[in-house]
Amino acid sequence: MFIGFFLALRAAGVKPSLREYLTLQEAMQAGLGDYDIDTFYYLARATLVKEERFIDKFDRVFAESFKGILQPKPEALNGVEATPLPEEWLRLQAEKLLTDAEKAEIEALGGFEKLMETLAKRLEEQKARHEGGSKWIGTAGTSPFGANGYNPEGVRIGQQTGRNRAAVKIWDQRAFRNLAADVEIGTRNMKLALRRLRRFAREGAAEALDLADTIGSTARNAGFLDLKMVPERHNAVKLLLLLDIGGSMDDHIALSEQLFTAAKGEFKHLVHLYFHNCPYDTLWTDARFRSADAVPTYDVLHKYDPSWKLIFIGDAAMSPYELIQPGGGISSWNTESGQDWLRRLVTAFPKSVWINPVPEKHWNYTQSTKIIRDMFGNRMYGLTLEGLDAAMHRLMH
């Protein structure tokens, strides 16, 4: 049983193994499923999903696979008519929870009655809906109910009336969406991804006792103690970070900052420099771009050897002239085109990637992004957990 569900999960990239599938069977036989769909959902989740970033995918596949079985009974289906919304209660909630400004906003939307009408319509759609979820009541995502600052609990009408319960499923709440791998990420997650870049090596002064070697050597010396020392292990990866600051990057500052904080915590050998839109003959050690902080790009090319890994962080969005035309730069006159400078950097540091905070689906619409992506031999990655992971993987191999 559930072969279809299992295969759908694998197709969606959750990748449970046969072993886990059999465990689920075993658990069902042991009566843990309890003939109750909620319990079965929890059980399947605990058995088949092993990382929180997959729970959201799992929820979606679950909803898709079991929608036929879970169709509420016809009389419950007309939930909107059968159980009119407890309007009094909702009104009360609104009084309690909404500020005056928010109340005004509701008025702007057509007042409370209009809102209730929309809500009823949404409930209607809910029964037919199978994907998306941007309008879903209860997720409070982009729905006006959420946006207006209603307590999402409040809109989860089912719990109050008890009868509509079938309308909003636990898995449809998508409570784990924030943990999904393809959404943006926090400092901690970034650190995790950056840890891919660890390469431990013994370098520097021999300070730690090498017990195994000491014992072997002492034995060879017929019991005469011979201490052997080794240097301690350090993360030997060297990282050169070039950050695009200003202009179109303003929207992504928070994210880039987080990545930078994460990197600073992770690497001992980390050098970071700033540029505006595209690197030319000068880079800056400070984002204020003062002449005192300027570093000639040639110095960077000569100072760091190819064992340094180069990471660009930028949206790669600029006028194509800034990239291909000498003198196209926006801040100062450049005698050589940005493309030349980029090529120089990429050649000097064979291990390089470009990390782009703009979602991947938009890349093809910007010419400069396409040019840079080609220049990097497709080594451009999104600033998501998956993208960062892939980028770090690429840097290590």
Binding site: S17, F40, I69
Partner: protein
């Protein structure tokens, strides 16, 4: 499809095994999904891997499961230097060397120098205990792999004494992880998994009720509002967790701070009183003060 679930369960291997069920305890609020995961792990005798934000009660869970099922708890706290072998046993070669120099008679039996690890203790116990392997991600990346066979078959071999230690009864194994390292797939496949979500307001009220029964409703409501507002603040380096919230409540009650003072903060003074219990990081406090300043100037 639903009908096929009703097939008579073949529980041959479970016969005679008392199926105690975990339903949460008087001092621990367990959500439904957590109960299902714990019960699955207990009855199928597989390890349960618990993850979640720090301070959501991962470690406490093991204690409560032990209490609820009436079992002993054996905790193995993992550190960055912990080796898998230490959980099984260690051979104390240095003591034996010293005893041999002193002519101690004990030296002839190597068994005297085998120090039992936590897994050994758990396997040998008369009544199957709950074994907590705490913060497994702190250890070396190979650590979980080194325990695969031992956790799977619940037995291991002691080379020095040539004996096999086999679990009398399979202990309930609870493993916690803070996500500092990724765990190997082979290891994950053998576990049940549960991610402790940050409790919603409703669950949080139940949790508070368990810890401070009969707390003043008004104060609790204001405190909850202030707390969730604080957690939602963008740009916080470390968001306060359940345990920090409970500490804060305790402080509020000890200092006898009234609900009006908490409400006051939402109008003018943005920083909640005794915020030191919630914000553990000077950047966060600073961020908060800056916001309060802007707020006051604006309003």
């Amino acid at each position: 499809m639903a009908g096929s679930w009703g097939r008579a369960p073949d529980l041959g291997y479970l016969r005679g095994h008392a199926l105690a069920r975990f339903e949460g305890t008087s001092s621990f609020v367990a959500t439904d999904d957590l109960k299902v995961a714990v019960n699955a792990a207990v009855s199928l005798q597989r390890p349960l891997l618990i993850k979640g934000e720090p301070g959501t009660g991962k470690t406490v869970l093991a204690q409560e499961v032990a209490r609820a099922l009436g079992k002993d708890l054996i905790s193995w706290h993992v550190k960055s230097t912990t080796k898998a072998q230490q959980g099984l046993y260690e051979y104390d070669a240095v003591s034996r060397l010293r005893d041999s120099q002193l002519g101690d008679a004990r030296v002839h039996d190597i068994g005297n120098y085998i120090i039992h690890g936590k897994l050994w203790d758990a396997f040998e116990a008369q009544n199957a205990p709950v074994l907590l392997i705490d913060e497994i991600d702190k250890a070396d990346i190979e650590f979980p792999n080194d325990l695969l066979l031992e956790l799977d078959r619940m037995e291991f071999f002691v080379y020095e004494t040539r004996q096999t230690i086999k679990a009398k009864q399979r202990p309930v194994i609870i493993i916690t992880s803070n996500n500092e390292k990724e765990l190997p797939d082979a290891f994950l496949r053998r576990c049940f998994f549960h991610y402790i979500k940050f409790p919603d307001r409703e669950t949080m009220e139940r949790i508070v009720e368990v810890h401070y029964p009969g707390m003043k409703q008004l104060l609790l409501r204001e405190a909850l509002t202030a707390f969730y507002e604080l957690r939602e603040l963008p740009g916080l380096k470390k968001r306060p967790s359940t345990s920090e919230f409970l500490d804060w409540l305790k402080l509020l009650m000890a200092e006898d701070i009234g609900p009006e003072l908490l409400r006051e903060k939402s109008t003018g003074k943005l920083i909640p009183p005794l915020h030191g219990a919630l914000l553990k990081n000077e950047q966060d406090v600073h961020l908060f003060e800056r916001l309060a300043f802007i707020h006051r100037r604006g309003g």
